[in-house]
């Protein structure tokens, strides 16, 4: 064989190797599934979904059971659609809305938790078996909690303008007026979220109502026992309007409020110069901040708890995600028990973005960035669960749609004309539903106490 032939053969071999390499690079497309994977459905996206997938991968490593997670920004309407259109339910669902759980329960769709899972919850959470399953049956596994009443701001911007963190709600109004005199809008705020559009506005109103009307009145409202036309609700909406929706209060005005996704709201806070000075959102908002954002008094961004009517520690609005299972299958039971157990969130805790009221996790075990939120939980402030998440779907939908249409129609609640009609129309939905439920056997649906108690458990 001459040198030329050898070189030609080498060329052919090289070309062949390159083709194989390219093939190999893309061969991920051809990997098949092995075994029957558990199908989990939930609202988590982005970093949350990635972190939860890491937890599931941990489970798969230990058990060999494959799990697929699918997340959707239109989660609750997707889940309802799966039920109504008979597309087939997932085996496990992550649900942030106790109201939705109550509905699924009423439709007899939820499968009870296995005994091992209940044991794991009792061992890891501050619940007794009696709390969780008075008649031996439990349906909801608490998993993650979050703190909602946080106002994010940039310490450097506050310092530059000599703005101080307020210690009362009235002080916040003064601060907003002061910021309004600068080139920076007081708030970053947007509400677009698919069929849940409006939840960010509802959170605001809930936080204000919890402070002004007090936890007892708030709880009545959350449980569906207080009319939407009540003065407490009305005043909270009016205060929200004045504080956040009034002209010049929010960067980008009504167009941005309605057009941008909730996840993108904080963008202008990080612009230079900043587009807004403050951003009220739960601790999970850190997932939506630009990569590498440092949180803390000396960091890029810091937070304060939305102040109360006086300088005492203000109450906290809480949210949470619980898990339910739709099927009684051994592999699913093992997954639920693992998630409730001591290692069931390790991979997420390590990545950050996970807090819970498990009493088997010490504060130092949490990611450093999450510790301030855990400390808040440990302060034992008055806490209430997110009301709109606790409403039954029909009430929730009517409530969120009404808030959204108000912002859409007027850019703000113009002189609050029409507010009474709006609240009356939402309340009619509530009254109709109560009438409907009273006509049905009472144990079918716990509109108030049952639903609400379930709600408290989600957050812990």
């Amino acid at each position: 064989m001459t040198g030329t032939t050898r070189r030609r053969l080498m060329l052919v071999a090289l070309l062949g190797a390159m083709v194989l390499w390219l093939w190999q690079c893309t061969s991920a497309f051809d990997r098949g599934e092995q075994g029957e994977a558990i199908d989990v459905f939930g609202p988590w996206l982005g970093d949350d979904a990635e972190a939860f997938a890491a937890v599931l991968a941990d489970f798969t490593d230990r058990t060999g059971i494959q799990v697929h997670y699918t997340g959707s920004n239109d989660f609750d309407s997707d889940l309802r659609q799966r039920i109504t259109r008979g597309i087939g339910l997932p085996e496990v669902a992550v649900i942030p809305q106790p109201g939705l759980i109550a509905e699924l329960y009423a439709r007899n769709l939820i499968s009870p938790l296995a005994d091992d899972t209940i044991d794991a919850i009792v061992e890891n959470y501050p619940f007794t078996r009696q709390d969780l399953a008075p008649d031996g049956i439990a349906f909801l596994m608490p998993y993650r909690t979050n703190v909602k009443s946080l106002v994010w701001f940039r310490p450097d911007v506050f310092e530059e303008h000599d703005w101080a963190v307020p210690d009362t709600l009235d002080g916040l109004h003064d601060l907003v007026d002061e910021i309004g005199e600068s080139d920076i809008a007081p708030w970053c705020f947007t509400i677009a979220a698919g069929s849940s559009t409006g939840w960010a506005a509802s959170d605001w109103i809930e936080d204000l109502m919890l402070r002004r009307a007090g936890p007892e009145t708030y709880e009545q409202w959350m449980l569906g026992a207080l009319a939407f036309t009540d003065e407490g609700v009305r005043e909270a909406v009016a205060e929200f309007d004045e504080l956040v929706l009034a002209p010049g209060r929010t960067v980008g005005g009504a167009q941005r409020i309605l057009g941008e996704r909730v996840e993108d709201a904080a963008g202008p806070l990080f612009d230079d110069p900043p587009g807004c000075a403050m951003y009220r959102q739960a601790n999970f908002a850190t997932n939506w901040f630009p990569d590498g954002t440092d949180v803390g008094p000396d960091g890029d961004v810091d937070f304060f708890v939305l102040p109360g009517t006086n300088a005492d520690p203000a109450p906290l609005l809480r949210g949470g995600d619980g898990l339910i299972q739709f099927i009684d299958r051994e592999e699913v039971d093992r997954l639920m028990t693992f998630l409730a157990g001591p290692d069931g969130a390790d991979a997420w805790i390590e990545r950050g973005g996970y807090i819970s009221n498990r009493d088997t996790i010490e504060i130092d075990d949490y990611a450093e960035a999450d510790r301030p939120f855990v400390e808040l939980l440990h302060e034992r402030r008055t806490e209430r669960f997110d009301a709109s998440d606790s409403f039954l779907s029909e009430i929730r939908d009517a409530w969120l749609a009404s808030i959204t249409s108000f912002i859409a129609d007027t850019g703000r609640l113009d002189d609050l004309a029409g507010l009474d009609d709006l609240l009356a129309s939402v309340d009619q939905v509530r009254l109709d539903l109560i009438a409907e439920l009273q006509a049905a056997p009472s144990e079918d649906l716990g509109i108030d106490a049952d639903a609400a108690n379930t709600g408290d458990d989600v957050g812990g």
Partner: protein, 388 residues
Amino acid sequence: MTDDHPTDEPLHESSDTPTPDEVAVTGVAVATEPGDDSGDASTRGGAMTAMGVVVAWVDSVLPSQPTDDARAAIDELIPTGDGQREYVARFCALIALSSSIAAFGLLADSGAVVIGAMLVAPLMTPIMGAAAAVVTADNRRLVRALLIIALGTFLAILVGWAVSLIAGGSVIDVRALPQEIRSRTFPGLLDLGVAITAGAAGGYIQPRRSAIAALPGVGIAVALVPPLATVGITFELGLTTESRNAFLLYLTNLAAIVFSAGIALLLSGFRPHADSRRGVLRKRLLVTLFAVLLVAIPLARHTRSVIRDLRLQSSVVKAVEVWDPDARIVEIEADVANGEADIELLIVSRGDPEPAWALAERIRERFGGPVSLSVLYQGDQHFVVEAR
């Protein structure tokens, strides 16, 4: 065919030593000896194989020497001696003007202005010079051409940056960049295809003065200055990722053009100037090989990623067909990064949308890894789903 390179002959005396022409064409091994075009494959190592016959045929078809005119056309690309200073000055002026036109055009989102900038751009000459120098293993020319390209690159980015400093205020929201800029921050296979064919066209046209009228078209197709202006603009706006992507687009275009223009020049008969001292020759060949490798690495990386993206894209299209037979994909963007698929779709269909999560799960089944999907349905309903 003239035989004005008699020194070609000794190179064929020893068949065990790689001859420059053989290495430079990475194995195509065309004959360079005049009169060797008779297809006498039987005298060669590949005589008994089908490949031997093909090689012999290629040998017989290809010109073995460029004409004097063609050689002159290539030599004139970058003047030497007295003309050099004037050339560099002219080059700098044209690149600054071209980049500034491109930057204003990009910021104004005007495709026509950007095309105008491409016609003014002088980068094609040093790039063709570099391709010719690679093919002919002329190190001195290669270094000169590369220095001029580097100067042009730096200057074009600087001008883009400066224009953005002055006029960048027109970009109100940096996350909503003009389409002309955005399209230059996502290099794709089509860009690569354009660069390869445009480079080949350049390599074909440059030595043929009769075809020189087609050269401006090559300049437009190659479009090197707009990505450079984009690098400058995005850098000034603080968008480092976009800036890096635009620079990657430029580099891969550059590599692809040098590579394909080099092939075209080779096919036109350009070969290394032979030298009697074998050591010097070997060194030149090493430099040539190094340059080819340098070109091939980003090209291969790029090709690998665009092939993956294309396969993902076809998975998405197939999944959509099953998901909703009435659906029509208006826009699709599909990238694979770190083993995860990131897909954006604009879809129109009839009636209520099918659930987006179901589409994500279908794509996950085909793709075999995590899928992040954003669906804009009928232009007003926005669904974001993930399947892991």
